[in-house]
């Protein structure tokens, strides 16, 4: 592009300096160990030594019904888990952020903190608290439903195959609504007041203002939230594990890729961990998530316009 007479650009060392610490720590402590683990998927432990077997672990994973049935089940459940988050968690998060960011709202700090409280709790606490609440024995949920005259609708949700996954997804939504809320809130606050004021003068108020002015300006943040939800959901493990155990009962109805991977990799109860098959599952999870992230990075993100304020 430039004329030949132009001198070469000097090397921009600062880019390296900015990247170096993160890249070094991250590579040494995260990427190398993980790569080491994922390559196990190409090996098999035979007589206490690792033997290269190519893709045969993957053949087992997809060919052997003992593995494939579980894998597809976990994947299906995981997709449902994700759908619920996208349909419930993110809209609620956006709604709450939109309400919170309305100017001069009283108690905004209180609401924001309160709504974020579940997000800061550990899975142990969340799992435990909700098991207690939904437990038919302790009776909080039936009590409450009695209160509004819906007691007849109560069932032991966490114990029923048809409800357990949805119930847990909703618990997870409850826990994580704070994250989309905070991100959107930060994005909304960075919209200049004057643009909003111009809209007020233009007669674009209330809902219309949200849809036509604010939403387009926070779309990049919504994009981020969607991809973070996707990544988070396909990596999810802890909540199911603390609430339903590693076997993700009843009858594997709450089994997602994370729990499936955990059982395979680390073993469970009498089941001895199989790092090779575990690595094969992890590789599949990784590829699924990577595909999603690439779709986002290369198809979605480049199309979302960002505005500088």
């Amino acid at each position: 592009m430039a004329a030949q007479t132009r001198p070469k650009k000097p090397i921009r060392w600062h880019i390296g300096v900015f990247l170096a610490p993160a890249v070094l720590v991250y590579t040494a402590i995260m990427i190398l160990p993980l790569a080491g683990t994922l390559q196990l998927s190409l090996f098999r432990n035979i007589e206490q030594s690792q033997v290269f077997v190519g893709l045969s672990n993957f053949r087992t994973l997809f060919g052997d019904p003992n593995w494939s049935v579980n894998f597809w089940n976990a994947l299906r459940n995981n997709v449902w888990f994700f759908i619920i988050h996208m349909l419930v968690q993110n809209p609620i998060g956006v709604l709450l952020a939109a309400l919170l960011s309305s100017p001069r709202l009283r108690f905004a700090a209180f609401y924001r903190t309160a709504i974020f409280v579940p997000t800061i709790l550990s899975f142990v606490i969340v799992g435990f608290a909700w098991k207690l609440i939904l437990s038919p024995i302790w009776g909080v949920a039936p009590h409450l439903m009695d209160f509004v005259g819906l007691k007849s609708l109560f069932t032991p949700w966490l114990g029923k195959e048809q409800y357990a996954l949805t119930a847990l997804s909703l618990v997870s939504v409850w826990q994580f609504v704070g994250i989309p809320m905070m991100l959107i809130y930060a994005a909304l606050l960075s919209i200049p007041d004057e643009v909003i004021e111009a809209a007020e003068c233009d007669g674009i108020t209330g809902m219309a203002q949200f849809w036509k002015i604010k939403l387009p300006l926070i779309l990049p943040s919504i994009g981020i939230i969607s991809i973070l939800t996707f990544v988070g959901n396909f990596n999810a493990f802890d909540l199911i594990y603390t609430a339903q155990g590693a076997l993700a009962g009843p009858n594997y109805s709450t089994d997602i890729l994370g729990t499936f991977l955990y059982r395979a990799f680390f073993g469970f109860q009498l089941q001895v961990g199989d790092p090779n098959m575990g690595a094969a599952i992890a590789t599949m999870m990784f590829l699924i998530i990577l595909a999603g992230v690439c779709v986002y990075l290369f198809l979605v993100q480049t199309r979302l316009r960002r505005y500088q304020f």
């Binding site: 991250y26 309400l99 700090a109 609401y111 200049p192």
Partner: protein, 279 residues
């Protein structure tokens, strides 16, 4: 903005929605805390009523306190969380700035590379990480935890921060360049202060999993000197599976510190927002 831009029904509506959701968000937490102050019979008999003189009982707390040196565990957690947070935010913001500000070959690939970390649970790398720490003699030190958490927190931080950094006005950075500021100064003096709200957001996101993590303290630093609060609490959670007084008390105690930390950060966040939103 002015009162004229507000309508009363809309304000009431907003409060109604927020209050409802606040109730949903807080209910389980309040339930746990409330019942932690009740006797066993009280917990089961009337879970929804606050402690009455008859059901009030601190037995749970007396059981829990004195189960180990919790002040010390707390210090450990604090050191680990704050130090990791510092490095995640610093390194993460630096890398995010490089990715969002400069166009260079491999920019997107570098972004993707730095995002790989959120796609695989770091747990899977445990053995290699542990070997690394054993080799470098860092087992049972807080440094090991700080390193791991820093690595673990970076991908998300870079991902979110680079998005927010793209919103900082070019003219502003250019004004800095014209003013003779080096790229480093532009980053530290101009960009960092302006993305403070998102830094605070990222800080909160990063802090939670670190504070709540069980696995790495268990593997890398389980010794009495380096134990974290969560690990300490988990141990006696296991111990009292059926002692609900103790469990509820332990849960309540576990909620407190992280709540305090969060409130501190969110203060920062508000301050960041009010000073950063100046356009």
């Amino acid at each position: 903005m002015s009162t004229a831009t507000h309508s009363l029904p809309r304000t009431i509506g907003a409060h109604a929605v927020l209050l409802t959701y606040t109730a949903i968000a807080l209910f389980p937490v309040i339930l746990v805390i409330m019942n932690s102050f009740k006797s066993r019979a009280g917990i089961f008999g009337a879970p929804l009523t606050p402690p009455t003189p008859k059901t009030f009982d601190l037995i749970g707390y007396t059981t829990v306190i004195g189960q180990g040196d919790f002040i010390h565990y707390f210090q450990n957690s604090l050191v680990v969380t704050v130090a990791s947070l510092f490095f995640v935010l610093l390194f993460g913001a630096m890398a995010a700035f490089a990715l969002s500000e400069y166009r260079f070959r491999g920019n997107t690939m570098m972004g993707l590379y730095l995002a790989l970390g959120i796609m695989i649970p770091i747990r899977l790398g445990t053995v290699a990480i542990l070997q690394l720490m054993v080799a470098s003699g860092l087992v049972n030190t807080l440094t090991a935890l700080i390193l791991v958490y820093t690595a673990q927190g970076l991908p998300l931080a870079v991902f979110i921060l680079s998005e927010f950094m793209k919103q900082v006005s070019d003219d502003l950075k250019n004004a800095g360049r014209i003013d003779g500021l080096s790229e480093y100064t532009i980053f530290f003096r101009l960009v960092l202060p302006l993305v403070r709200p998102s830094m605070a957001t990222v800080a909160v996101f990063t802090m939670i999993p670190i504070w709540n993590d069980l696995w790495f303290p268990l593997i890398l630093a389980p010794s009495e000197e380096t134990k974290t609060v969560t690990l300490g609490a988990q141990l006696f959670l296991g111990q009292f599976v059926t002692n609900w007084n103790a469990i509820l008390a332990a849960l309540s105690l576990a909620i407190l510190p992280v709540l305090i930390l969060y409130v501190i950060f969110s203060r920062q966040l508000i301050r960041g927002i009010t000073s950063g939103a100046v356009k």
